[in-house]
């Protein structure tokens, strides 16, 4: 099964109230040294097996463009993820 991960983040100049709230909370839990936090979405799309990587990426791109990200305030990146190796991603 092919999986595409779409990361959707607020554009850097857009206020991220959520990130602000977390950055302010961290010192209270004793976690020092964090100067900024941005919170976005990680969206995992599972595609049916019979599609090749190019098709999968193209469709994921379309999904991101039309639905997953709001181009007015967000940007997205996407990548195919190798199954069973969540921590070893590459573009």
């Amino acid at each position: 099964m092919a999986r595409v991960v779409v990361d959707v983040m607020l554009k850097p100049e857009i206020l991220d109230p959520q990130g602000e709230a977390v950055v302010n909370a961290l010192p209270r839990l004793g976690v020092a040294g964090v100067s900024g936090v941005r919170i976005g979405k990680r969206i995992e799309l599972e595609f049916s097996d019979d599609l090749d990587e190019a098709t999968v990426l193209e469709r994921a791109n379309e999904a991101a463009d039309k639905l997953l990200a709001n181009p007015v305030i967000e940007t997205y990146t996407l990548r195919v993820e190798t199954p069973h190796a969540v921590n070893a991603e590459s573009a």
């Binding site: 554009k11 100049e13 857009i14 206020l15 109230p17 602000e20 709001n70 007015v72 305030i73």
Partner: protein, 602 residues
Amino acid sequence: MTNVETTDGLDTVERAVKTADEAQPYAELGLKTDEYERIHEILKRRPTQAELAMYSIMWSEHCSYKSSRVHLRKFAEKNPSSPHMLAGIGENAGVIAVSDELAVSFKVESHNHPSFVEPHQGAATGVGGIVRDILAMGARPVAIMDPLRFGAADHPDTARVLPGVVEGISHYGNCLGLPNIGGEVVFDPCYQGNPLVNALCVGVLPTKRLQNMAASGVGNVVVLLGAKTGRDGIGGVSVLASATFDEDAAESRPSVQVGDPFTEKLLIESCLELFDAGLVTGVQDLGGAGLTCALSETAAAAKLGMHVDLERVPLREASMEPHEVLASESQERMLLIVEPRVLPEVLEVARKWGVLATAIGEVTDSGRLVIDWHGETVVDCPPASLADEGPVYERPMREPADAALVAVDRAETLPRPATGDELRATVLRLLGSPNLCDRHWVTEQYDHLVRGNTVLAQPEDAGVLRLDENTGMGIAISTDGNGRYAKLDPYTGAQLALAEAYRNVAVTGATPIAVTDCLNFGSPEDPEVMWQFARAVEGLAEGCSQLGIPVTGGNVSFYNQTGMEAIHPTPVVGVLGVLDDVNRRVGMGLGTDGDILIQLGA
């Protein structure tokens, strides 16, 4: 701290004098040549970039009311004098005494265009903006209402805009803890490219807590309270980007503002605590025109001067330039004027609520608004020239060409159902109309219970709130408007909107006492639109005069049009009434079995 990158090439007053002939992009900023020349006359030199940004903002239609001002005067002229009116047109919002100790502040405002661009954030920040207006009067915001207009219900764009708008209002209002006690949802193709998102806020204050915007008292400190300042909504002045910015950066300047209701809630609580402690001399909300508007209006209102060290403003992005800081529409900020001796107490209250507070300047007796950036003066002008002395136009007006056609199409000439079957078909068509359908999908996303004083809310004709738990004294509010009526005849249409809101308030058992209005129209540069506007204002002013209740404030929204196609003229009218005892309010449902139904009136 000196930041070489930004001070480099900074357009200071000194530089403006030396480079008198430098070309400036005033037209791109929306200023006419004669307006630009007037700025020269006022300053006796060319404006700096920062000044140019400020004049372009303050002299815009949105801030200066340049097209509507001559007409809005009718409200003041016709207003019945009322001893209960503590603040009226010209203030952030009207304030009306409802008892010996209590007063109510209310106002309706538009956030139409931003809500089309980004429905959720546009609508959310619309709520945030009107709430700060009410707060600036010293009132605790206690409820909101949302008159909305969308395009055709089955149009794909409505499917994008409507859910986003409702979600934005729901999220911001609910998170602030403000019950939503009413509003409107109307569908009409004329709003397709120009949905209307109007928001009303009502607040309550002990009469003695009434606040004032004037930056009075030479030596008093100017404090900026609330969120950090970012590049929100500075799209309008981005042509002023200095050469240090590449094109990418200019492109990425957002015209969208993102709301943070959590910060607004803390801002409300901290301001109220400061007001109650008597620590505030003057206060102004930061709305559409950000610091530019707040600094110039507070300084102008006191007829004194002000000195601001602009680099003290806490920034979200360090690379911001002075004109950007001045133009930023970052939400959730208030400007306070406080005496130096109470500054530590003020900062302590802000700290307690976790709200940023920064002293950024002081009141002077210079009669000028002087703004420095890292020690160099970038603005030096008379504040009233920005706030009160903007251009005023008497725009040409012309009765719409189709007026005769519209008038000919009279009710009597329209086909009517003649048989039972036809009547049945008509009823079914009415029932199937999106304009008469159940509003539950919208209203169940709004908290109407929070604060525990909501006596009537959706789907009632008017919202009713209890203000005094001991006596049961309360208020009723309704907003109404009908663009189709106003299109047929703006004068009568505005009066019908007033009459409907008035009736809706009266039927709860309340006595109507005051009016607010949001006038949503097309382009004032179109003489036909201008005619509609003038007629609507006359109608409303005359109607209020006949009913004996004053217009206490409101808002004008022009340019609601796509190409040559303007929306129907849409005056939205809010009426406020008082009930001695909300326990005796009358709801709209039928009572009990066997009750007698009586029709009153025509």
